[in-house]
């Protein structure tokens, strides 16, 4: 038996694009033509293409060639936890960066990410985050003096490498 196409998943990008196009049109409504000509042209073509795609999907649904499932987005299900965990760790990393500083935040995030990915070997859980955090400190803080938020590690090692704290 032929499997039906999961059209629910296929709807996500057009829905996002359509929502954005509508927001775009609202945001440029009061602007001069030079400011909106390009956006209107692109947005109108995008809306047209989405309409064609929706018509195509409706035809597939009517013919019984597809259904509104969206499960292909999170298949295979056994890695969904890992995937969501990675996104959560990244969000937490960005949120904690101003307080913990680059080095410590990266060390903790890397450790957590490896745990989520199923790494259980203690030596790997120690040396890999440590190596990544050390490399980031050496490159971004010591060598390039980039404007990353400074935390306890940067303040502790600052005098040693004459870096900004």
């Amino acid at each position: 038996m032929k499997t039906k196409a999961p059209l629910g998943a296929d709807l996500v990008i057009p829905a996002l694009a359509l929502g954005f196009a509508l927001y775009f049109f609202i945001s440029i409504a009061d602007l001069a033509w030079e400011a909106k000509a390009n956006g209107v042209l692109i947005g109108a073509l995008l809306v047209f293409l989405i309409a064609v795609q929706l018509a195509r999907m409706a035809r597939q649904l009517a013919r019984g060639e597809g259904d509104l499932r969206a499960d292909s987005l999170w298949q295979p299900a056994d890695v969904t936890g890992k995937r969501l965990g990675m996104i959560a760790v990244t969000m937490a990393f960005i949120a904690a960066l101003p307080w913990l500083g680059l080095t410590l935040a990266l060390l903790i995030a890397m450790f957590a990410a490896l745990r989520i990915m199923g790494v259980r070997k203690r030596s790997t859980l120690v040396w890999l985050p440590l190596a990544i955090a050390t490399a980031a400190y050496a490159m971004f803080i010591v060598a390039l003096d980039a404007d990353f938020p400074r935390g306890p590690v940067e303040q502790l090692l600052g005098p040693l490498f004459a870096t900004r704290t």
Binding site: I28, V79, L144
Partner: protein
């Protein structure tokens, strides 16, 4: 300019090997990391380049710049993460080659195309500098609109499986590219109230999200990024694969030559850059190929074209700066600052008042390319082994390191969050076959297209006929129409022949 002068210059630049080599190594490292542009690195290293004599400073800067352009293709081939916008087109065929277990060959193809593409165009620039400097004057807004359309048509042909989805992704990208203030009145458009988006969507955050983060979220489904067969091949890699890559490159020498000239001509236009050149070269390579249907499946031409063009740009970017005093891009603007600090006045007079420097820049570039091939080619064998790392380790490293890199372009935490948002959009696009490369083409070329289009319309006071007002522009329009009509016409003829 005499042969004797050129030989003297070459000898002088060879004597600067101690400057060129570290610059190449640094350029390779920052090129591999998405988010690290040569201009940012050169700005950070300004205290160094301002302190040393101008010849050494320039040898350092051009070597770093060229190496950076070369190495952006390495992560594009190995893990489908372009190191820069100019390497985004390389993912289209480079990564499929890796998945087939041909990572080493793909890397060698990329290195050879980059080095010889860069070298040929540098030598051509040296020989034809006075004439090449005029090209920038002929390619104005009207002509650039058509050149950009060449790149944008790639959106339509990029996904042979589902053109409609590719078009939706491409136009979604184009609309995202319009975010930010407009070019005339500085009025904000679709910024969601974020001041950080007033300058437009940061390309690095989009690149990292759409490619690196989304790819990492997808790759955790498998133990390795290569197939079992590919892994077996990758484990047995040896020098023969490097030689095989060299052999393929030699067979495709003409492809390297003509696609690198696409890069040179586009590079000469101020404001145009490696991304446009790489996409246009890929599109043209596919157009004139005898087997366009194989593009995207992992074929050598698909790696050669964008890489040769990407490096053809390097000498082109310097032409308007040296000959006219107009920087062709951000990197050349930084270089110009260094030169002006040392008391050099850019423009036609530089070639008579200081020919050692004016021509020496291009000689330094040629020498850097020669050094580069000997530095990087032996490393291909070892780089290719990255694909043997399990995704359990690779995915967290890619996500966290590239998210950190997203900060580097503008030093905003906002960009890191934006990269994550693009990562989720890219992941959904991956899973539902909406082409992320089409989306990125839109984001890269969209703002440039608007800039040139609005400028042309502004000059003509809104008269659309201005787009067909120049001879060169009309020739380009003709070629564009030809490039759109030719593929379906050829497949029609092929179908007729088979039936």
């Amino acid at each position: 300019m005499t042969w004797e002068f050129l030989l003297d210059q070459t000898a002088a630049q060879l004597g600067l090997w101690w400057v060129i080599w570290p610059a190449i190594l640094l350029g390779i490292v920052i090129g591999i990391l998405p988010g690290f542009s040569p201009q940012n690195t050169l700005i950070m290293l300004l205290p160094l380049t301002l302190a040393v004599p101008v010849e050494q400073a320039f040898a350092f800067m051009v070597s770093l710049y060229c190496a950076n352009h070369l190495s952006g293709g390495i992560p594009a081939i190995l893990v489908r993460i372009p190191g820069s916008g100019g390497a985004a087109a390389t993912t289209l065929d480079g990564y499929p080659m890796t998945q087939k277990g041909q990572a080493q060959q793909a890397l060698v193809l990329s290195f050879v195309a980059s080095v010889f593409g860069g070298l040929i165009t540098t030598l051509a620039t040296l020989a034809l500098l006075p004439w090449l400097s005029q090209i920038g004057l002929y390619l104005r807004s009207v002509e650039m609109v058509v050149v950009l359309l060449f790149g944008l048509t790639l959106i339509a042909v990029i996904a042979a499986k589902d053109t409609l989805k590719a078009l939706i992704a491409g136009f979604f990208g184009l609309l995202i590219g319009v975010i930010g203030t407009d070019h005339i009145y500085n009025a904000p458009r679709a910024t969601f109230g974020f001041l950080e988006l007033y300058d437009g969507v940061p390309l690095v955050a989009a690149l990292i999200g759409l490619f690196a983060v989304s790819e990492a979220l997808v790759m955790i489904e498998e133990k390795m990024i290569v197939s079992a067969e590919g892994r077996a091949r990758a484990m047995q890699t040896n020098w023969a694969d490097t030689i095989d890559g060299l052999r393929i490159s030699m067979r495709k020498w003409w492809h390297i030559v003509w696609t690198s000239f696409v890069g040179l001509f586009i590079g000469i236009v101020p404001g145009a850059g490696a991304s446009i050149a790489a996409f246009v070269a890929y599109q043209q390579s596919r157009l004139w190929s005898k087997h366009p249907e194989l593009y995207g499946t992992g074929i050598p031409e698909g790696v050669i074209a964008p890489e040769a063009a990407n490096n053809g740009v390097t000498s082109g970017t310097l032409v308007p700066m040296m000959a006219l005093g107009v920087p062709g891009g951000t990197t050349s603007a930084v270089m110009m600052i260094v030169l002006q600090y040392h008391g050099m006045v850019m423009g036609p007079r530089l070639f008579t008042t200081n020919p050692e420097l004016a021509y020496g820049v291009f000689v330094a570039m040629a020498v850097a390319y020669v050094f580069m091939i000997f530095t990087i080619l032996p490393l291909a064998r070892y780089m290719a082994r990255i694909v043997l790392i399990e995704t359990t380790y690779l995915a967290p490293i890619i996500i966290l390191v590239t998210i950190v890199a997203a900060f580097s372009e503008r030093q905003y935490l906002f960009d890191m969050a934006l990269a994550l948002v693009f990562g989720v959009i890219g992941y959904i696009a991956h899973k539902t076959n909406y082409h992320v490369t089409a989306m990125l083409i839109g984001i890269i070329l969209g703002p440039l297209f608007e800039q040139y289009l609005v400028r042309a319309l502004r000059i003509s006071e809104g008269n659309v006929a201005v787009l067909f007002s120049s001879t060169l522009g009309n020739v380009l329009w003709g070629l564009l129409v030809l490039s759109l009509v030719l593929p379906p016409w050829r497949s029609y003829l092929q179908r007729r022949r088979t039936t």
